[in-house]
Symmetry: C2
């Protein structure tokens, strides 16, 4: 797998002389490799060109000097087996096939071509990624075999998927390394899991699975990984109709959804319901500490949104913490005498009625007081943003609390006219996640608590 994700040299086969444009956008592997700043050797292959995108170009694979770690093929499908053979003859051990029309096609020729490829690579100790894949991205070496421009971010998130749409950060997903399995004819989820398990640059692993050929092997592999790193999975193809579509999309066998639920649970894999929850959960595991228990503190500008937070706790299997008397005393000092002070701490009356401190002061005191309370395992702060400047203070609060309370996650639910800008800026601290609803914020805390429990069982078992 290393040669797919960390190639030191790459041959690009099947690139048009001029970059392909779709929708007026340049979609071109070579252009991206150069503009991303990939420092490995690049060997473009073209029968006639001597130079493409400023790079020396070779007529065939055999003409290239030196070793090649990875070949990326994007040619009409009937030409692919021949080129795979050339790659194998050159001694290339990692071959990414972007071309569509193999197991994902409805005709016999597609399946026949796939068998030919299998025959060529099997004896040669060469591995195939795909077909029907955008390949791999590794932000740590500025490498991507995708012809779509990929956002490069050196974050310890490894991801495997069965659609190229994941190369372009859907639903705000942020990834450091991507492996698109496409049809998964050879390299599969188990191979990728084994890679990410040992990879020091990967701390959190995300998966988009349509189907698996060898489910038993996957579960065994996953079960090993989850005791070291969290594995978050979006398993699609739940209904029979979806299963048929997956079959025609990547040739995957999908299987009964209920069985997946049990298998994931046994393997300690965190299953999410849709792509937003996938993105939210991966961001949370990347940026936050695990939550040691199930008790939540809530600080809110809106009592009504506090109530929503409590509803969300119930759904996520979390509890609203009963604060200590010290905490209550601290908060009471800020609040109007007639207000019930507790958790959720509804701070608006403290600002609008009591006026003893500014909103940012009350906000800060309330968040820190709850984090300070031993019964509180994590805090949700619900905030309105009314000016682009107001997140400065909150970003500082995030930095401070991350230092002072390294074991307690602090997450945000933001409303108001500048909510989107504020969410982005808060997440740029790398130490919190922010959402437009209390429900999504609490949901990720639930996953952090679940996984913490799972790991704790390991710990107990090992004592």
């Amino acid at each position: 797998m290393k040669k797919f994700v960390e190639p030191k040299s790459v041959a690009i086969i099947g690139v048009p002389r001029s970059p392909m444009t779709i929708y007026g956008i340049v979609m071109d592997v070579l252009t991206n490799l150069v503009s991303n700043g990939y420092q490995g050797k690049i060997y473009p292959i073209h029968p006639k060109a001597s130079e493409m995108r400023g790079l020396k170009t070779y007529p065939t694979i055999a003409d290239t000097p030196g070793d090649i770690d990875l070949a990326v093929i994007n040619l009409p499908r009937e030409l692919v087996p021949g080129i795979v053979e050339e790659c194998v003859n050159k001694g290339i051990k990692a071959i990414t096939i972007a071309t569509q029309g193999f197991a994902d096609a409805n005709d016999d020729q597609g399946k026949q071509l796939q068998r030919e490829i299998d025959g060529i690579t099997k004896g040669a100790d060469a591995r195939v990624l795909g077909p029907n894949t955008l390949g791999t991205t590794n932000a740590y070496i500025n490498f991507s075999s995708s012809y779509w421009e990929t956002q490069m971010e050196k974050i310890p998130v490894g991801f495997m998927c069965q659609t190229g749409a994941f190369f372009v950060s859907p639903a705000g997903l942020r990834i450091g390394k991507v492996i698109d399995l496409g049809n998964g004819s050879d390299v599969d989820f188990s191979d990728g899991l084994a890679y990410f398990e040992q990879d020091a640059e990967t701390k959190v692993i995300g998966l988009h699975i349509e189907g698996l050929r060898d489910a038993a092997r996957f579960v065994k592999q996953a079960n090993q990984v989850t005791h070291k790193k969290p594995v978050i999975v979006l398993k699609t193809g739940r209904s029979e109709q979806a299963a048929r579509a997956a079959q025609s999309h990547t040739g995957s066998l999908v299987g009964k959804d209920e069985i997946w639920d049990v298998a994931f649970k046994q393997a300690g894999v965190i299953r999410v319901g849709d792509i937003e929850e996938l993105s939210d959960t991966i961001r949370a595991f990347n940026m936050l500490p695990l939550m040691k228990g199930r008790k939540i503190g809530i600080v809110t500008w809106s009592g009504g949104f506090g109530v929503m937070g409590i509803d969300a706790c119930q759904r996520a299997g979390l509890e609203i913490a009963k604060p200590s008397l010290t905490t209550i005393d601290h908060l009471t000092a800020l609040f109007p005498f007639w207000q019930d002070v507790g958790n959720p701490a509804d701070i608006w009356p403290a600002v609008a009625v009591t006026k003893k401190a500014s909103l940012s002061e009350v906000q800060e005191i309330a968040v820190k007081t709850l984090l300070d309370d031993p019964v509180v395992d994590g805090v949700l702060s619900i905030i309105g943003y009314f000016t682009p400047a107001s997140e400065v203070g909150i970003c500082q609060l995030v930095e401070e609390t991350a230092k002072s309370y390294p074991d307690k996650p602090l997450v945000f639910s933001i409303y108001g006219p500048f909510a989107n800008e504020a969410k982005d800026k808060l997440e740029k601290t790398g130490k919190t996640v922010a959402f437009s609803s209390p429900d999504r914020a609490i949901r990720v805390l639930g996953h952090l608590a679940d996984y913490s429990e799972f790991r704790l069982e390991d710990h107990v078992a090992s004592v």
Copy 2:
């Protein structure tokens, strides 16, 4: 209710001489009234000032000339009953009390003050909104009694809530008229429903309910409204703990959640699970036609996201349409011969492999072909945005299809680096809604289909 939502004149009582700033932001009713361009009479009341924010100011309510439709009070709670009495003596019939600390307080004085207010208004035929409310907003007359700056948009969406956070468009919610009930001591959801039922400027009604004093009356009222206009409700306070928090937030009695489910269903009210679904659903009902049946067409750039769309249909109780042979023929012409063409229509191979037409052409043909098929009741289009300019063509497609297929909703799921910008621009057409996941897009189509069925039953019953 008209005097609360459509006041021709308003007295503002309890405004500081200089606008209050919180967090560096001006939070001031008077400033907002002037800057929003409210054209009614404004009477600021202040014991000493003769002019505030450029407006002539009166020492007491009694000193104001002419009739006053609405009084907005924001004074320390112990002063409120006296001022309410002055308002009643002046003949004011609509009184909004912003002040906190009545039923929402934990002390006897709060409850006693509330009883005093009730005693004063009851005999006088005057109605009270609140206490503990930001009052009302009506974009059609540029009026808001909120000290928070409110986004004014003349759209036919009426909303009632129990927290002021809804005045600032949480989760992208867009509203034309807001009534914040606060504690709901007098004016309640039934009053608001009756207003919105007859209001020609309101087409869609949204509710955020923590609790109700007279649930039976509400259900009866709602049952009448839902046969004319869709009513979408976010009922919070599901758990016992949340119910207690709601009690201290607005003094509401919450009741068992399961009973609410049954009551809403009987009344034809559409219940949503969280604030994002609330915003999504209200936007959908405002901008889209109802969906006449349950059969969906999907056009997708990513086969994997198409599979997610099918999963979402199963959850929303919708079906993937089985396209007619004409539809299949039309699509087949664009696709590689080896691709199974159907629904979802996975158009990427048609662009990347076949290259007979540009992506925008294929996109347009596929969407129109599915909308044209009598078995298809609505279409989800899943798109990647890679350049800020690429939504121009799609916005045009939205305008065209809204004209040609006025009975079939077309919704979008968008990914890619310019997804947020694109979603905004698509929704600005006023004819579609766009989301970051296929799941959210399909979920609103489910609500449109459910409500269409509910209204169809009326129709059948009336024949």
